[in-house]
């Protein structure tokens, strides 16, 4: 449903503040803990939730998210269970947009048409598929958009002005600007460059532009949130889960570790334009 996404960004624009987009991995470190983490994200300050679909070979991810995916897979997570997490979340929350993020193969194996139908029923709003560039739009992007899902595309520093229109052509919901060349969880880029890039992309689209890769603290979020329409935090949250574990298993502190960090970074997001 694209309506939830559009309504959320419209409401935030009204409040003149950037969106806080949080990423966690479905099933990390186990199904129930991940469900509790995700269910509590909106109350902790998240505006949009990205849920990672674990994959054995996450080629664009740094160590934190790789490990999160491995933990989830070892705990028995699969695509059916990932969609179940979204369905469960929707029982109590019908306004927070949910974006599934991951790689194409698990969707391809699930079956493109079945996946789209099941994702809509579960209450998914958008998709970010890292290894589907516009050159492969016919595979999955076009049928997903036709069915009413947002297809959120990554734009990167290597996406120049000549290429940007092709990247934006079938993008909906928001544009995810990856603030550097590199994998998830690397160091944050210079905020001035980021502002320039956000403005460059805004010159090509009316969609909100959210910025991710390297944002770890409230201070980072505050700086980036001045110019971006949204701030994406992933590796830091996933690391908070990793750090809370004992012998690879969730502890009493796991869920609160994520929610406390989200609440803290949310303050930065809310202060960005205050």
């Amino acid at each position: 449903m694209t309506a939830r996404m559009d309504a959320k960004f419209a409401a935030l624009k009204e409040q003149n503040r950037p969106a806080f987009v949080t990423f966690v991995m479905a099933g990390d470190p186990d199904f129930d803990t991940a469900q509790a983490v995700i269910n509590g994200l909106p109350a902790a300050g998240a505006d949009v939730i990205e849920v990672g679909m674990p994959f054995s070979d996450p080629m664009a991810d740094g160590p934190a998210i790789q490990l999160a995916g491995q933990r989830a897979l070892e705990a028995g997570q699969d695509m059916k269970k990932t969609l179940q997490i979204v369905r469960n979340f929707r029982e109590n929350d019908d306004t927070t947009p949910i974006v599934l993020m991951g790689y194409y193969n698990p969707i391809y194996i699930y079956g493109v048409d079945t996946f789209i139908a099941d994702a809509l029923v579960a209450g998914v709003d958008g998709l970010i598929i890292v290894d589907l560039p516009p050159e492969e739009d016919e595979e999955f992007c076009l049928p997903a958009i036709k069915a009413g899902l947002n297809f959120i595309r990554l734009a990167t520093p290597t996406t120049d002005d000549a290429r940007l229109p092709a990247v934006l052509a079938n993008t909906s919901g928001f544009v995810y600007y990856v603030s550097m060349t590199g994998v998830t969880g690397s160091a944050l880029s210079n905020p001035t460059d980021v502002a320039e890039q956000v403005n460059r992309i805004k010159g090509h689209t009316d969609l909100p532009v959210c910025v991710g890769f390297g944002i770890k603290t409230a201070a980072d979020a505050e700086r980036i949130g001045k110019d971006a329409d949204g701030v994406v935090v992933g590796s830091a949250l996933v690391s908070a889960i990793g750090d809370s574990l004992k012998d690879g298993k969730a502890t009493k502190g796991t869920v609160s570790a994520v929610h406390d960090l989200v609440a803290d970074i949310a303050k930065g997001v809310r202060a960005a334009r205050a």
């Binding site: 674990p54 994959f55 054995s56 070979d57 996450p58 080629m59 664009a60 740094g62 160590p63 790789q66 491995q70 897979l73 699969d78 695509m79 790689y103 194409y104 193969n105 698990p106 969707i107 391809y108 194996i109 699930y110 890292v130 290894d131 589907l132 560039p133 050159e135 492969e136 595309r153 990554l154 734009a155 990167t156 520093p157 290597t158 996406t159 120049d160 290429r163 990247v167 990856v178 060349t181 590199g182 994998v183 690397s186």
Partner: protein, 406 residues
């Protein structure tokens, strides 16, 4: 020969061989892939590129490699005449160098002097480090941590050649994880870096480009066969891991329908076990490392680990053109087990005085099965794509011989 029904026309503009191949990469890499495609098209159209490639193949690699009639092996098997295409005599000991020469010339042309590569057993790593030394380019090789331990001689060779070796512990620390890690490096260092992929897989244009550079094997074979026998062979046999030596031999023959073509996969401990690498025989189509192809994977699309006595075949995917050739029925793909390969390894050593690598030993095991059933005037050409020096420790271990006193 390359009319509408030709099997040699692929890939199309989108990098597809039928439904296989493509460009399934992150946006950060997409502009690089497009640049590479353009640079490769330009290079192909430039006679000076081919001239330099041919010169280095002749004077640096030592091509053409001989097409050798294996008289005693033929006699022993008592059927078809057996010829070996001796790519194990190349500089660095395998076919890998053909592709490395082509790609380093392209990297030079593109002004991208920092070279990265993945390697399993170390053959592609050694070939890459070799061409980097020859051209004075810095070289970083990603290699699974377990392989770094198991393949100490190749690690030492690469270091001597000036390469930096990065042991990969992410994931399971195998060849596919090394490829993931090389892709992560490339995504980070896009401006300076050229990713020199070692097999005919990955996003377009790699499968096409690697095939083109390796096709020298099949082109020479055709000429040499005409000279030796005045006709084309009845059968080609080659081992497939990622599939670069095999596609190099097969491609020039794809439209010669009287020549039967057989690709041999690593059957490990048997394809009814979990320990094999037979992606075409036992896998199903999926998307990994930039292309759609047959993959070993579970019900959820998670990629399985491959397993084989031969580290060079130990990859859960396969070049997309092989997937296309399987589905089109032009090439037959069969598995050979570790034990069968090991037996063939010893047989060739004893009968012909050639110690083969474990990869072509798989192809040889298939020759051993097929030749006796064929007539004496029929001809098989097998790609002897690597020499066995690197494998003597592995072979000794499997044969119960203690070489290192461990």
């Amino acid at each position: 020969m390359s009319g509408a029904n030709s099997l040699r026309m692929g890939p199309d503009e989108r990098g597809r061989f039928g439904d296989f191949g493509g460009r399934f990469v992150a946006e950060t890499l997409m502009p690089l892939i497009l640049d590479l495609d353009k640079a490769y098209k330009d290079a192909k159209a430039d006679p000076s590129f081919k001239e330099e490639f041919d010169y280095l193949l002749k004077h640096y690699v030592g091509r053409p490699s001989p097409l050798y009639f294996a008289e005693r092996m033929t006699e022993h098997l008592g059927g078809a005449k057996i010829y070996f295409k001796r790519d194990e005599l190349n500089h660095t000991g395998s076919h890998k160098i053909n592709n490395c020469i082509g790609q380093i010339l392209l990297a030079k042309r593109m002004g991208k002097p920092r070279i990265i590569a993945e390697t399993g057993a170390g053959q592609h790593g050694v070939a890459t480090a070799t061409v980097c030394a020859r051209f004075g380019f810095p070289c970083t090789i990603y290699m699974g941590a377990k392989d770094v331990e198991r393949q100490a001689p190749n690690v030492f060779r690469m270091k001597l050649l000036g390469a930096e070796i990065i042991p990969v512990t992410a994931g399971q620390g195998t060849l596919k994880d090394s490829m993931n890690e090389a892709l992560r490096d490339w995504v980070t260092n896009v401006e300076s870096t050229y990713y020199l992929i070692g097999t005919a897989a990955g996003p377009h244009p790699y499968p096409e480009m690697v095939r083109d550079f390796q096709s020298i094997i099949g082109k020479e074979t055709k000429e040499q066969m005409m000279e030796a026998e005045g006709r084309l062979p009845d059968m080609l046999i080659a081992a497939v891991g990622g599939g670069s030596n095999a596609i190099g031999l097969f491609h020039p023959f794809l439209d010669d329908r009287d020549t039967k073509i057989v690709g041999v996969e690593a059957g490990g401990k048997g394809i009814d076990t979990d320990e094999h690498c037979a992606s075409l025989t036992a896998g199903k189509p999926g998307v990994l490392h930039g292309n759609r192809t047959y993959l070993l994977q579970n019900y959820d699309g998670q990629i399985d680990e491959g397993a084989s006595i031969s580290a060079g075949l130990d990859y859960p995917g396969i070049g997309p053109e092989h997937s296309f050739l399987k589905d089109s029925g032009r090439v037959e793909y069969v598995p050979i087990t570790d034990d069968e390969a090991l037996e063939a390894f010893q047989l060739l050593t004893k009968l012909e005085g050639i110690i083969p690598a474990l990869e072509p030993s798989h192809a040889l095991a298939e020759v051993v099965k097929r030749a006796p059933k064929m007539d004496k005037d029929q001809i098989i050409v097998m790609n002897l794509c690597g020499r066995g020096d690197k494998d003597v420790f592995t072979a000794a271990r499997h044969l119960g011989v203690d070489l290192q006193g461990e």
